[in-house]
């Protein structure tokens, strides 16, 4: 204190003012930051979960919050560019109107589409059935692609190219999700790099307590998180030591066991895919009876839901098998989570892929000449995009119902059973731990469905937002009341990035079906904004042809090989530069670290300081 006061005396007036103003600026900035953190959704809930259950589970809930925000943004995007103009023009607000230009050069039979909205006497159960499966009255609403049968819209006097807007909004939401996920994973990556392994225990023990904590609750949370961190670190070190101590015989045993288990995993996966394929084909064959709207019986409902049910069953059983098997493979806990996650991701996403593949093979299957004139199976699927949208809608609703049902009918009764019944079998089963990887997978699965489905059903992101919003509270309640804390505490920092990587895999896999639908499969001529085009993608070349010649030339040259190849080469060079830079930095960091360790033994530094 005396030194500082002496310092201040020697500072000139200007420097003093500078120091005072920088202090107050710092204070203002920290206050603004604190205020803005109050606006963060669910800040308090996630904080309390972190305190009670550790950072691993907290990372799951932050991930869930991110997904809610992402879905909401996508919804706003699609809503404002696609739904709002169509509503405005259909209801004639602001003197708007729209035009349905009948497609030229198309056989008339391709353009017949009568969605079977229930007219007349409607039973309540039929209403409910339609709500659950997206058919009937829902099919004609804004929810599905078929509603947007507008070729050109005039909002007051502006001409609004709805087909182009629809396509561009699709690309925009995909690009937005991609960039946002990458940005978030880069932030997490930076944190991961900075998290030093050097001197980690001393850092945690001597500098672990935040002296600014004044609230006893916050103090309790901090105690808990410190305890978790220390235990997680110690556990990991113990396991690493055990792995390093393995003898050759043990290693051989473990590796052969791993190979065997991987073959079982592959067998399980093939079984799942085949059953989904059969179920989809069966369901589509049997529900074709219902294209005549006057024949609708109850059994059709179960058949319609058959693919969703088989997928959910596969998604439920496969992870259980995987997490049972991985215990024999004896990995570090962090790696275990990742490997199980990768396997289950593969199951879930490939399941969606198989469903879509079987749908498409039926849509594109053309035996007759009449069918080939349309390019798709016009008899069964006059408006095939709506059909695909309906399948995605069903998957999403079913997923939501299953999550609710599992919490209500499995978790809570189990908790009641364990706390009231003291027979040995029940106590041995005990409460379930919160499986982070399972839950993350549910989110990634639901989100991939949302991404694929939004093109076919523009209001799907809104449903997804509401679904995940409710799921947050359900999972939180289930966690607080029915789960026991993890026996092996797990660290969160690298899990965060991993969840985002898995989400990114889901997004990239969502590109494939969307790409095929937009560019390859002819769009339906009976409904939707792309009636007058061959494929949905054809809107873009069409629009470009309408640009002035100069601009057209520029765009063509960008797409030509003369531009693309040098561009690619430049990008590769830049990438190699950054990789080399990163390697050099890493080498420097290693050298500095070694020097730090050596500094300890330098006699100059070992002389005791005069205190």
């Amino acid at each position: 204190r005396d030194c500082q006061q002496a310092d201040i005396k020697y500072l000139s007036g200007w420097k003093r003012w500078k120091r005072a103003s920088s202090k107050s600026l710092k204070k203002v900035l920290s206050e603004v930051k604190e205020l803005s953190s109050y606006l963060e959704l669910w800040r308090h809930d996630i904080h309390s979960i972190e305190g009670k259950f550790g950072t691993g589970i907290q990372s799951y809930f932050s991930f869930l919050r991110f997904v809610v925000l992402l879905n909401f943004t996508i919804f706003i995007l699609m809503f404002s560019f696609v739904t709002v103009p169509s509503i405005i023009s259909k209801y004639g607000i602001f003197n708007s109107s729209f035009a349905k230009i009948p497609p030229k050069n198309i056989e008339p039979h391709c353009t017949v589409y009568k969605p079977s909205g229930d007219k007349g006497l409607v039973y309540f159960y039929a209403y409910l059935k339609d709500l659950l499966s997206g058919t009937g009255f829902l099919e004609e609403t804004n929810l599905f692609y078929g509603y947007y049968t507008i070729d050109v819209a005039w909002l007051s006097i502006l001409r609004y190219n709805l087909p182009l807007a629809y396509l561009l909004a699709t690309f925009a939401y995909l690009a937005l999700s991609f960039l946002w996920i990458i940005k978030r994973s880069v932030e997490g990556f930076k944190q991961n790099l900075v998290h030093d392994e050097f001197q980690s225990y001393c850092n945690k023990v001597f500098a672990g307590w935040d002296f600014c904590i004044t609230d006893p609750n916050a103090a309790r949370l901090k105690h808990r998180s410190l305890q978790y961190e220390l235990q997680a670190d110690l556990e990991e070190e113990r396991l690493k030591q055990k792995i390093a101590d393995r003898t050759m015989k043990e290693k051989l045993r473990i590796y052969s066991l791993r190979i065997f288990i991987n073959t079982i995993v592959i067998a399980v996966l093939s079984g799942c895919f085949y059953s989904i394929y059969r179920a989809t084909v069966f369901s589509q064959e049997n529900s074709n009876v219902s294209i005549r709207p006057d024949i609708r019986t109850d059994s059709i409902e179960a058949v319609q839901y058959l693919p969703s049910m088989v997928i959910t069953l596969a998604n439920f059983i496969a992870p259980q098998i995987f997490s049972f098997l991985i215990r024999f493979e004896d990995y570090l806990p962090a790696f275990e989570i990742r490997l199980t996650l990768m396997r289950c991701v593969f199951v879930r996403l490939a399941n969606i892929g198989v469903l879509l593949f079987s749908l498409w093979s039926r849509i594109s299957y053309c035996a007759t000449d009449k069918c080939q004139a349309c390019g798709y199976n016009y008899e069964l699927y006059p408006c095939w995009e709506s059909e695909v949208g309906q399948e995605m809608y069903k998957l999403m609703i079913f997923d939501f119902i299953i999550i609710l049902a599992v919490v209500l009918f499995v978790d809570f009764p189990r908790k009641l059973l364990v706390s009231h019944c003291s027979c040995k079998l029940v106590q041995w089963c005990g409460l379930q731990e919160f499986g982070i990887s399972d839950n993350v997978l549910e989110i990634v699965y639901g989100q991939t469905i949302c991404w694929i489905g939004t093109f076919f059903s523009p209001l799907l992101p809104a449903i997804a937002t509401i679904k995940y919003f409710i799921i947050f509270y359900i999972k939180k309640i289930s966690l607080m009341h029915t789960r026991k804390p993890a026996a092996r505490p797990v660290r969160a920092s690298s899990s965060n990035i991993f969840f985002l990587v898995v989400l990114l895999i889901g997004l990239v896999l969502a590109f494939i079906p969307l790409g095929i639908s937009i560019a390859h499969i002819p769009s339906s001529k009976a409904c939707g904004p792309f009636r007058s085009f061959n494929t949905s993608w054809a809107v873009v070349p069409n629009t470009i042809l309408g640009f002035p010649t100069g601009l057209q030339q520029v765009l063509y040259s960008i797409a030509s090989e003369a531009f693309a190849v040098p561009f690619l080469m430049v990008i590769c060079l830049v990438m190699f530069y950054f990789i080399a830079l990163a390697r050099a930095h890493k080498r420097v960091a290693e050298q500095l670290r070694e020097q730090l360790v050596m500094v300890r033994f330098d006699p100059l530094f070992c002389t005791p300081k005069v205190s």
């Binding site: 001197q199 001393c202 500098a207 006893p216 103090a219």
Partner: protein, 161 residues
């Protein structure tokens, strides 16, 4: 700061707050110290009372605040941190001191303490990382050395005024 100090005194003594001493129980009601697991050690270290009752006069109070402020140098902070962590006041951090520090960090209740084996492992690791002369204890210079390379120490060692 003077105002905060005089608020801690009972009403009668507020007039000569300059020379009065505040009892330990009153000091512990300060919000910054209330939730701090090292509160007792902090009082002990900063108190200059002769009869060991850990009461603080105004100068002790100022000392404490200045060490914890953002503008204190890391030398000063690490010096006082060492004294706070040194539970038996023998000038070095030996195993028992480290055990007490870790127990303070994990919380007051018994069920959240580390097990004996975990504690052993942890203390072993800490000594490996910081004990230069391998004598099984951490002296002041070793402590300051370790803390100077820790990025979190300066961040967490400050009280917001």
């Amino acid at each position: 700061a003077y105002k905060r100090f005089s608020e801690l005194l009972p009403k009668e003594e507020r007039d000569n707050a300059c020379s009065a001493r505040v009892a330990k129980s009153q000091i512990l009601t300060l919000p910054e110290l209330r939730a701090n697991p090292f509160q007792h050690r902090i009082c002990r270290v900063f108190s200059t009372s002769d009869n060991g009752d850990d009461s603080m006069c105004f100068e002790d109070f100022l000392d404490m605040l200045s060490v914890f402020s953002y503008s204190a140098t890391s030398d000063v902070k690490s010096h006082y941190a060492f004294r706070i962590f040194d539970f038996d006041d023998d000038g070095t951090l030996d195993r028992k001191d480290l055990e007490k520090v870790v127990n303070c960090l994990t919380g007051p209740s018994e069920e959240f303490r580390l097990s004996n084996a975990e504690m052993e492992q942890l203390i072993q690791n800490i000594l490996e990382e910081s004990d230069i002369d391998k004598d099984g204890t951490i002296n002041l210079s070793e402590f300051q050395h370790v803390v100077s390379r820790s990025p979190d120490f300066t961040r967490y060692g400050g009280l917001q005024r």
